[in-house]
Symmetry: C2
Subunit: 202 residues, 2 copies
Amino acid sequence: MVERTEKRHTEKMKKKQAAHDKIMAGKTAEKGLLIVHTGKGKGKTTAALGMVVRAIGHGKKVGVVQFVKGAMATGEKAVFDAFPGNIEFKPMGEGFTWDTQDRARDIAVARGAWDEVKRMIEDPSYDMVLADELNIVLRYDYLPLEEVLPVLTGRAPMKHVIVTGRNAPEALVAEADLVTEMTLVKHPFREQGVKAQPGIEY
Amino acid sequence: MVERTEKRHTEKMKKKQAAHDKIMAGKTAEKGLLIVHTGKGKGKTTAALGMVVRAIGHGKKVGVVQFVKGAMATGEKAVFDAFPGNIEFKPMGEGFTWDTQDRARDIAVARGAWDEVKRMIEDPSYDMVLADELNIVLRYDYLPLEEVLPVLTGRAPMKHVIVTGRNAPEALVAEADLVTEMTLVKHPFREQGVKAQPGIEY
């Protein structure tokens, strides 16, 4: 019986490998991706940050613009400081919008952040650009989608752009190459009164 | 009209801020979290990697054990090499299981990786432990859940443990403090024949 089980397992795994190899053989294209992380769950910015880390580890140049944060988090800063030539980090927001309570000022802040994203997308020296929480700014109509979308889709062929934030506009999802929705299953903030902790949230 | 819209916006934002402040005031606890990233979408390992980066940026010590990878990806390696005292990285898998086709060997490999995770969880010098793709190993019954779960739940109160991989067991989800499901919306591998690229996949 044990022997039969082992044999069945080997056969199953061989089939899996053959299917996997066939799929991979058809994948030869390289292109700059438009990536969207959306959904109400955690990990949208964190996963983008993981991609940024990988890219700088490959010696690539990455631009990061944060739309709703006014300062770089301590955890990121220490790591990025070790790779000064590979990363330009711009925390352009001045707190979340519900802290500022001034729509005109929020629009001006969003505009300033967008100008940075646009500059990085148009500058061929950047291999990857992260527009962190851009979806939130679009959701509040602080920036017109019809102005933002052509810049994202008109980027150079090999440039990766990552856009994060809940409520990604449908038109952005339609244009993206890779869209992941982070779904909240359980959250210690809501259910256990646990505060933000270093290494986890920032 | 413009003025009324501005006023309405300010009032709405004030309410949001008050609600947010009230919620945050109740959040005072600190604890080591058991975090699970699951689902068929991308970003499970990448988001965990982002947390690892934040933690080492805060000067914390992190242990990473990869169950299905046999070597550290180039992108991660370059960054982690810059923080040698803060991270111990153990790629313990020898390729995905469908490449090895030997169940007995896979079980031995899984056992070796688990021994490392257990050691890091039990060693007080580690602040965070990432068991990457442990869910896959549990799914294939390479390790018994009844052996793994007590080690995870019995960890020291301030230790963070992150478990990734699709098909997280229900009993693990039930014990976890934070569970995020990554859902695939669009994927360039499947739909466009694009291969794995540096900075994105590794």
